[in-house]
């Protein structure tokens, strides 16, 4: 069977099992094994042990349990709320202020983590409930978490950027710095969207009702202190990375310890809380890892059958004008995002596409940042995308996948807009690294 036909069959199987509402990870594994048995034989089953070892013994993915646990502790001890309460003290009169605070907090979390899963699941743990409780439109709330959490790979440190730089022999430093302006543009656009959409449709983000008794100065100070301390935790975790105490992966453990210390300080510490947070975190970790495992079994099967060669041969001799080639690459990566995860897209596409882009006269760092922007979109476009799955995992029971699909639309459009702006203005990427590093 040709790889094109096989790809078609696999896609069809995905759509069928998605329609049936099957557990995504187990279904992807099942599809790969079933189709693989018919095309390859039972020898393919041997993909399971190596894939298990790759997913469970990945030190990079270890950020997922640590950050999820930190997020659960923050929300269960009320520290997360304290942070948002304090922000309401300052900008509470602005409609959509909580969503704006969430974007800011997500950006800070983005500066700690280097992978998408940890970003979304931490932000979701801390920030989803406060927004839903205050009556925010659930689509706005979900979309903000998804868009903000996705910034984890655009704001340094970023594992996909390190992978890109190494696969194409470019500077990681240049790439980290080059991504800063596009990251800032993304953050500004996201905040602008929140402000505008809340102006146009005030129901999306109700203002807090005025309190019956105006809080005293002392109460205000206490709120500010609690919020400040909570913010200090984030600063401490960031600081532990910058000061070389911990790696980005390990910093999640610093966050866990910090959250427990803060809870003790706030007199909110209970053994039960630590245990319950552990229970919820363990469940979320397991859910995330079974998806990652099943999806990796699936993509490993697809790669062993040679999908990467299909992409490589398709992109040779496109015979298009340079900018069209770049656009074509973006479309291919978006399509790959339907079936493949963030790391594999980089591993597979960076070495195939970048030399072509460079030979057409484009800057490789700019192209790499485009790729990261693209991956951010690819993982949150329906029907298949890790960011979507992570968000569903962290969302309360009433939230359906359809809510999530709908919630991402405006945010995907914003990110697409940023992608296009950066695509046609390479200076946005190249200016800062040239300024700093030359």
């Amino acid at each position: 069977m040709g790889i094109e036909l096989l790809t078609g069959i696999l896609l069809a199987c995905i759509l069928i099992t998605f329609a049936l509402g099957a557990p995504v990870g187990l279904a992807l594994g099942g599809i790969a094994m079933g189709v693989g048995y018919m095309t390859w034989g039972d020898g393919l089953f041997n993909v399971i042990p190596t894939t298990l070892e790759d997913t469970h013994f990945s030190f990079i993915l270890l950020a997922i349990p640590l950050y999820i646990y930190m997020g659960q502790l923050l929300t269960r001890s009320g520290i997360g709320d304290a942070m948002f309460n304090a922000s309401q003290l300052i900008i509470g009169k602005v409609r959509g202020s909580l969503a704006i605070s969430v974007i800011v907090v997500c950006s800070m979390i983005g500066a700690m983590v280097g992978i998408i899963g940890a970003g979304i699941m931490t932000s979701g743990s801390i920030a989803l409930r406060p927004m839903l409780e205050r009556g925010y439109d659930k689509r706005l709330a979900l979309g903000v978490i998804m868009a903000g959490g996705g910034l984890g790979i655009l704001i340094p440190p970023s594992i996909p950027m390190i992978m890109f730089a190494s696969a194409t022999q470019n500077s990681v430093g240049r790439m980290f710095i080059g991504a800063l302006v596009p990251a800032a543009i993304s953050i500004v656009c996201l905040i602008a969207y929140v402000v505008i959409t809340c102006k146009l449709n005030p129901k999306k983000a109700p203002l807090d009702p005025p309190p019956e008794v105006e809080p005293t100065v002392k109460e205000k100070l206490l709120t500010a202190r609690d919020g400040g301390l909570a913010l200090l935790l984030i600063v401490a975790v960031l600081g532990s990375i910058i000061m070389g105490i911990a790696t980005p992966t390990e910093s999640g453990a610093i966050g866990v310890v910090g959250a427990i210390l803060l809870a003790i300080f706030f007199k909110r510490f209970k053994v039960r809380m630590v245990k319950n947070a552990g229970m919820q975190a363990a469940m979320l970790v397991s859910v995330a890892m079974w998806i990652i495992f099943g999806a990796t079994v699936f993509s490993n099967f697809h790669l062993l059958m040679g999908v990467q060669n299909m992409v490589a041969s398709f992109t040779q001799d496109l015979g298009l004008p340079p900018m069209m080639v770049i656009i074509m690459f973006q479309i291919i990566m978006l399509l790959l995002g339907f079936i493949i995860d963030e790391f594999i897209i980089v591993l597979m596409c960076a070495p195939i596409f970048t030399p072509i882009a460079v030979s057409l006269g484009f800057d490789p760092i700019w192209f790499g940042v485009l790729m990261i922007l693209n991956i951010e979109i690819a993982v949150q476009t329906p029907p298949y995308g890790f960011a979507l799955f992570y968000l569903k995992g962290i969302a309360p029971p009433g939230i359906t996948m359809l809510d999530i699909y709908r919630s991402v639309t405006p945010f995907v459009l914003i990110k697409l807009m940023v992608l296009i702006i950066v695509m046609f203005n390479p200076d946005l990427v190249t200016w800062l690294p040239n300024l700093v590093m030359n």
Partner: protein, 308 residues
């Protein structure tokens, strides 16, 4: 084609080394007149670098170019094969060791015991340590935190350093923030590709391990399906491959060094006789330990000892 093979290697698509493996695949195809077709799988394309040995063993991929340190827990003799710290970097000596002193026989047995056919090994450049601070004498390694897995870690501990375990993709960030003071790279090209020189400038002159010897392995069942002439063809192709590796890896190593020097890489001063002695002593201490841990390692190390 009569035989459809998958060949997994540990380099990324588009890297210089990747092309050498691609050449090996093409050579097997042309020399066998298309009777064997070889699909090359680069790092991460279906099999992770730490899964290559297992994947060839089960036949998930037919042929593999593994990096033995990643399989130290599965096939300990591989760590002796690649070269224990302090080993020689003389290609001639190594070839004698493998082809005349009997390492090939021991390794054929060792790999054979796990259902693998061991083909002509090839030589890759040595392992060096890059650090954030200059190393003027071996003493300066004391207390440094250096990312160095397995045997390299033990070697550095003998020198008074503290080995650290980290994922490869965290080396850059960790060097830049100072979580670690230095890191080994599997060779100079690895240091270059990892951009380590952006965040650490000093390279120590003595290689941690001399030239590294890596095998090409084939799944036993797939191998036995080949006719004798096809077996000969695959063997001949791996011999050509070993040549190409030797020539090109030297060229690429010097290119990588030149590129890093252009970015500010500095070499440590020439080590003193005492330094060299301390270096050798740190490596020799490991021989007994490795010989005791595994029967095949023991045979290899006995041959090594007899030579001295």
């Amino acid at each position: 084609a009569d035989h459809n093979w998958r060949f997994a290697n540990l380099y990324g698509r588009g890297t210089a080394f990747g092309e050498v493996y691609e050449d090996l695949a093409k050579n097997i195809e042309t020399m066998s007149d298309g009777r064997i077709k070889v699909q090359v799988l680069y790092s991460g394309e279906g099999v992770g670098t730490s899964g290559i040995l297992g994947a060839v063993k089960t036949g998930l991929v037919t042929m593999g170019a593994p990096f033995q340190s990643m399989h130290a827990g599965e096939l300990p003799a591989g760590v002796v094969e690649i070269g224990l710290p302090g080993g020689t970097d003389d290609a001639g000596d190594l070839l004698t060791l493998f082809h005349e002193r009997g390492w090939d026989e021991v390794l054929t047995k060792a790999y054979g015991s796990q259902g693998l056919v061991w083909l002509d090994p090839y030589i890759q450049p040595p392992v060096y340590i890059i650090t954030k601070k200059p190393i003027n004498s071996v003493e300066d390694f004391k207390g440094l935190k250096i990312r160095a897995p397995g045997a390299y870690g033990k070697f550095l501990r003998n020198l008074g350093a503290s080995p650290v375990s980290l994922a490869w993709s965290e080396i850059y960030t960790s060097l830049s923030t100072g979580v670690i003071d230095g890191s080994i790279g599997s060779n100079m090209i690895d240091h270059r590709d990892g951009n380590h020189v952006e965040v650490a400038k000093y390279m120590y002159r003595l290689p941690l391990a001399g030239a590294q010897v890596l095998p090409i392995i084939v799944n036993n069942k797939a191998w036995n399906k080949l006719t004798p002439d096809l077996k000969a063809i695959v063997k001949a192709a791996t011999t050509v491959h070993a040549q190409e590796q030797l020539v090109k890896s030297r060229k690429w190593e010097s290119e990588a060094v030149a590129e890093m020097e252009a970015k500010g890489l500095q070499w440590s001063p020439e080590p003193s006789a005492a330094d060299k002695e301390a270096w050798a002593a740190a490596g020799a201490g490991l021989w007994d330990e490795y010989a005791a841990a595994d029967p095949y390692s023991k045979e290899l190390i006995e041959i090594l000892r007899a030579e001295k």
